[in-house]
């Protein structure tokens, strides 16, 4: 008889319940007492074995089985109807190519989507439901017991494998022919370069490109997306204008430039402005301009609250105080939004006085001290 309990290397008691179950069932037929080889009472109950099979109605009643059969057939029939619905929907609902408002088209697309989806859903679902119903009610449902063997191979097989490998290694002389081994390793080691080096042309090196934007001295601020220049006196107190540098659309990569240059113009009452001494004169009559690219991970910070003068980023809720140089008052951003020094040109339109004096947008390793 196999042992019932043993203690493994870690000192934990285990029960080989499989053996125990089989043995106990033979000897005691349902009794729960078992003794190990020392005659001690066992620490665990014996596995009672499979529960008696419960027959389904379709197993014992022929009419019930026939009913099940009809149910399965009905489900498969419904599936066919689903396919029909799909086909009909495909040919009935065609996108109209007429001009004018597209709401008619959207309705057609809606009916098409609904018809195709319901048809397809019905066709597929009912095949699945039919198959499973068939399996559950009409296919044999006796539980089958199969043996499970330990994953590891027998000791002989293991020894054989080791032997085979040893023999092979000896044949190749891996241990003896050091020159071959070392030169092979030396040849393999740099192979990764074959894959890595050609990736170099994935993109240019960053250089200083992240530190500069399209703003220059004298470039007009134009509204985004309408591209109208902005007269300073026309910006109302409490008003905002989302701006881009004039002429940005004609630059080589306009979207790349927009991604750095996007800015927001806000007019505060002059007494609300608390400028840093070194930023004195960066505004124009209470009109300030800040980068719209969040210093956290780069979302456009466009959400201006007129009463609190807070700029809020809709992505991660970093909040910047416009009255205090856009310092962070809440949220994950680590730095204030960079400010653009502005003035007006001879016609009274707002212009930039210089580029941003620090890189805009998310922080990065080579950002510099600012």
């Amino acid at each position: 008889m196999s042992e019932h309990t043993h203690t493994d290397a870690a000192g934990v008691e285990h029960v080989e319940s499989a053996d125990a179950a089989a043995a106990v069932q033979e000897e005691h037929a349902g009794a729960i007492v078992a003794r190990d080889e020392h005659g001690e009472i066992e620490t665990h109950y014996a596995n009672p074995g499979l529960a008696p099979h419960i027959y389904r109605r379709s197993d014992i009643d022929k009419t019930a089985a026939q009913r099940r059969e009809r149910e399965v057939a009905t489900l498969f029939g419904l599936s066919t109807i689903g396919t029909l619905i799909f086909l009909v929907s495909y040919f009935v609902f065609k996108p109209a190519d007429k001009q004018g408002n597209s709401n008619q088209l959207l309705s057609t697309v809606h009916y098409s989507t609904l018809g195709l989806g319901l048809g397809m859903g019905l066709a597929l679902f009912c095949i699945g439901a039919g198959a499973i119903h068939w399996a559950k009610t009409l296919m044999p449902d006796d539980e089958i017991v199969q043996e499970r063997h330990p994953m590891h191979s027998s000791a002989e097989e293991r020894a054989g494998a080791v032997e085979a490998l040893k023999e092979g290694a000896a044949g190749a002389g891996l241990g003896r022919r050091k020159l071959i081994r070392n030169s092979l390793l030396g040849a393999m080691a740099p192979l990764g370069l074959l894959a890595l080096v050609p990736l170099r042309d994935l993109g240019p090196l960053p250089g200083a490109s992240l530190a500069y934007t399209a703003w220059r001295k004298g470039v007009r601020l134009v509204s985004d997306p309408s591209r109208n220049p902005i007269k300073a006196e026309e910006v109302p107190i409490g008003g905002v204008v989302h701006v881009m540098p004039e002429g940005i659309d004609k630059m080589p990569n306009p979207l790349d430039e927009e991604a750095k240059a996007a800015a927001i113009v806000i007019r505060l009452a002059p007494d609300e402005l608390h400028e840093r001494p070194d930023r004195r004169g960066w505004d124009y009559n209470g009109i300030v301009c800040y980068s719209k690219i969040c210093t956290h991970v780069g979302c456009p910070v466009g959400l201006y609250e007129q009463q609190t003068h807070h700029l809020l980023c809709p992505c991660h809720q970093s909040t910047f105080d416009v009255t205090h140089n856009c310092e962070v008052v809440f949220g994950p951003a680590g730095r204030p939004l960079p400010q653009l020094k502005i003035s007006v040109d001879s016609e009274g339109y707002l212009v930039a006085d210089q580029d941003f004096q620090e890189p805009v947008g998310p922080s990065y390793w080579f950002r510099g001290e600012n």
Binding site: K231, V240, G302
Partner: protein, 269 residues
């Protein structure tokens, strides 16, 4: 023999765990309620009411009875409310016409409700405030005629200037400290226009000089179209982006499939 029960495989757990879901639900509600009380900005109520007739004088009468306690007897403002001198008729029409004024509660933000005054009374109040000093006027019919406006252009202007607060489809969004940008689907073109030129509460001012009237009409055209546009894909799920989609995916996608799996795994009778 008694039927075998396996409590934790979920086959026959009804008997003993009937109330477990209720207990969990009650606990969850309790926690949610507690959090709500802890986090909700506390509003305190202020009563307001009023009835009267038109014209500047009558508007003044209405003002004295309904507004002056906060805005001052001559609309010069007080610690409870800002001055109304120079805010213009548009501001009054928006605030009173959307029911925000007179304010019923002073929470983090004054909210839209059923207007306290009819159209005529609102016009009288507006006329009175407009008579105090020049300010943005109520837009006339021609300013609001957006029938031939470019919807697509309006969408582009909207996404640059408005969507960061009001969301891509005008569903509204959160601001700081309990304030929010309201949903725009039910807002009338006139009120939209007035909001843009007057900048009510947290909203900044988009004056006609920095955002021409044409642009505003395009925005309105876009929003009106968006509000009545049929959803080609079926239920819109609130037009608030992937969060509601995730919830539906778990609940009705995976949930339905797990229900099917339970059916699959249950023994047929």
């Amino acid at each position: 023999m008694r039927r075998l029960t396996v409590p934790w495989t979920g086959l026959t757990r009804r008997r003993r765990h009937r109330f477990a879901p209720l207990v969990v639900l009650a606990a969850a509600l309790g926690v949610t309620g507690g959090l709500y009380t802890a986090l909700a900005p506390s509003p305190h109520a202020e009563a307001a009411s009023g009835v009267s007739t038109a014209s500047i004088d009558q508007g003044r009468g209405l003002f004295l009875r309904n507004c002056s306690s906060c805005h001052g007897l001559n609309a010069e403002g007080s610690s409870d409310g800002p001055t109304l001198i120079g805010v213009g008729a548009a501001a009054v029409d928006f605030q009173v016409g959307t029911g925000r004024m007179p304010a019923a509660n002073v929470g983090p933000q004054i909210v839209k409700k059923r207007p306290s005054f009819d159209a005529q009374q609102t016009a009288a109040l507006a006329a009175y405030v407009a008579s105090l000093a020049p300010g943005p006027a109520i837009p006339d019919k021609s300013q609001l005629d957006y029938t031939n406006s470019d919807i697509a252009k309006g969408g582009e202007i909207y996404r640059t200037n408005c969507a960061m607060c009001h969301n891509f489809a005008g569903s509204g969004g959160a601001l700081t400290l309990g304030k929010f940008a309201p949903a725009l689907r039910g807002t009338s073109p006139r009120h939209m226009y007035e909001a843009m030129i007057t900048g009510p509460q947290s909203m900044p001012v988009f004056s006609d000089s920095t955002m021409p009237a044409k642009d505003k009409r395009e925005i309105i055209a876009f929003l009106r179209n968006s509000a009545k546009e049929p959803g080609p894909g079926g239920l819109s799920l609130g037009k608030i982006g992937p969060v509601s989609e995730g919830g539906v995916g778990w609940l009705f996608g995976l949930g339905a499939l797990i229900a099917c799996a339970v059916w699959l795994g249950a023994k047929a009778r």
